[in-house]
Amino acid sequence: MSNELEPLADPGLPEHIHRKADTDPIAAKRAERQVAVLFSLSAVGTLLFIFSYFFVDQDQFIFIPVMGSTNAHQLGIGIGMAMSLLFIGFGAVHWAKTLMPDQEVIAYRHEMRSEDSDREDFVKAAKAGAETAGLGRRPLIKRALAAAAGLAGLPAILLLRDLGPLPGNALNETSWKSGTRLVTDPGDRPIKASDLEVGGVAQVMPELPVGQKRTLENIAKDAVLLIRLRPTEFQLDAERLSWTHEGIIAFSKICSHMGCAVALYEQTTKHLLCPCHQSTFDVTRAAKVIFGPAARPLPQLAITVDSEGYLIAKQPFTEAVGPSFWERKS
């Protein structure tokens, strides 16, 4: 039968070719020197580390091309440690590859299971140990030990409590109330409508009652950006238009995507950008998302002026500011 396949013959192991250093003593000597040089470089690196740590002033700056003015203390420590570790490795690998034995050896596998006699001996020894310790004869110790060991595990579970408490309604609320004045951030000065020019912006925070301090949690939710446009540039419905004041419109600065501070305002295009993922919001159309991963427009804060002419919030935010969360209502 001509089309019957012949089994392939076992080709065996390829012929072992010895390295140059195995046969040529001059090459072996050269390899030896190379390894020694690599290890010596590591030693030099360690010495550089120690020298930089103790003797280079922490305020010493040197000029390095490309990098510019650089702290010599840190640079010496870093280069020293890198040399110290890298060249030990390079030397060891070079040594193993050029000079260490080159024979191919076969390592046989053994069965993992222990001999039956060894297993029996272990059980005997364990039982004898328990007998000598008197666990069976002294139940009081046995129970006390069980109680102690059981309780010792409890703190690990109790610590899970720090994952809470649940935020409750905190994610839906901000410090903005009806009548809260808008103040500059930083500076805390109340703002009049006339303070803002067309094309101007202001970073604002809600005014705090006297003596109260602003917490990081509040800053993260309350930050608002004020932008002044020409009133004719808005393309808003009647309700949203009534939330603006003489062309001044206010949006939450917290991105509805991941909560970065959205404040790259392009005066020419009236676009508001988030620096993190380039979500782009159109200010003239109530911060409608026109590009990027954000799913919702930025919440708009309704503003008006009080009897003294300062800008105030007309009402709290009507939706939660910032990114999505499970319990979010809208």
């Binding site: 490309v66 702290n71 690998v93 020019e197 912006v201 790259l264 005066q267 020419t268 782009t280």
Partner: protein, 264 residues
Amino acid sequence: MKFISKYRKHKFAAPLLLLFALTGLGLTFSVASATEAPKAVDAAARSTLIEEGQQIFLKGCSSCHGLNGEGAAIAPSLIGVGAASVDFQVATGRMPMQDMSQQAMRKAPVYNEEEVAALAAYVASLAPGPRAYTNEEIEWERDGNTAEGGELFRNNCAMCHNFAGQGGALTQGKYAPSVMGVEPRHIYEAMITGPQAMPVFSDKIITPEEKLSIIKWIKAAETEPNLGGAALGRVGPVTEGLLIWTLGLGLLIGIAVWLTAKAR
């Protein structure tokens, strides 16, 4: 003369002759125009600043901004932008624009200080606007506060100009330029006029003292040395990541190849 006639039919003779002729023409022209320049200044000395500014404007700016600075489809109106805008745009070389791209960029200024002052005086005469400043008026070293400036910069400027003032990208080819190495008066004028895509930061929102603090912080950031090795442009994770993914991983791959290569 024998030397020249010997080579007159050489294949490089004609191009070389042309090169000499053009160089000669160029030199003559530059010498001629150089001798003309002082005359223009003399003429300026006779007329008022505004009239001189109008002459410069008509020659250099009116083709885009209109004969009376009223603006056109390709350039905004200059009525009411004030001397501060002119000083910022012209003295930093942004105007006149090199090409009609998305953004006018900072380059070597085309007009000298006197010409900028004249232009500014003319544009300011069209309608009132913010006035120009001199570097001496901007007393940032005396009245600024670096720490306060840093807080203001992070809150108002860092989102576009980067946390270290290195600048950053905006949409459709526009960008916020680096604020390193900018003259104090230009930083100040940019804040009060809001050039190009930048919004206006009026004196009630960021007071003049606070503006000086911002300038002081920028000047401190300019001279800030690198505390921990290469700064990689001070733009944060982008260049750091690029370096790790290319140089770092490249090094690891190289070592892996070396480890498994058979020694000879």
